[in-house]
Symmetry: C2
Subunit: 113 residues, 2 copies
């Protein structure tokens, strides 16, 4: 018996371009947990430079910044999600959950594969 499953990937597009999807959602979640861009980047196997570029693009293109970095202390201060960032991650996760519920309800289509 083969193991069959349905998987989706979901993105928010702004003006026809990918703006927010699985990668950015994971990055923001990891920043929220760790308070650090470099730890989040490392956990995703990504360079700090790339992670920072992703955040910079989100902060510039979104309505409001998603991530704030506070300088200070010899550790270089901390990084946190803004309210907008927290709400965006929560909204994206809620959407994925709803889509997963739909998929579970439609899983009988797997018999045709």
């Amino acid at each position: 018996m083969k193991n069959k499953e349905i998987r989706v990937r979901c993105w928010v597009y702004i003006d026809g371009s990918k703006f927010f999807g699985p990668g950015r959602a994971e990055l923001l979640s990891l920043i929220k947990e760790s308070g650090s861009i470099s730890k989040a980047a490392k956990a995703m196997g990504m360079s700090y430079k790339k992670a920072w570029a992703m955040i910079d693009e989100m902060n510039s293109l979104g309505q409001k910044p998603y991530v704030i970095t506070q300088k200070g202390g010899h550790q270089g201060g901390g990084t946190a999600l803004t309210e907008t960032g927290k709400k965006a991650v929560a909204a994206y996760e809620r959407l994925l959950h709803k889509i997963q519920t739909t998929i579970n309800r439609e899983s009988t289509i797997l018999e045709f594969f």
Copy 2:
């Protein structure tokens, strides 16, 4: 006012590997319409060889063949979807439609982006 939208891509995985998704669904739909692998491949900007490899893999890994090619005539015969192929395409489109309905219902999340 920026144009924001949610888009998804959806795949059926068999034993942990992508088996059927947007590309194969489009290929099968085009074969169904045109009765020809080469026309379908051309419409997708894909080589005949690649299209044939996709079909061959589907026919081998799926429970039953999805596409049948009938030899004969100097045009090289015709190509059509099997009942399994037709049902798979229809089931996949139904799933996408249901997911789209869920997305439309949840579109208020776009305010957070």
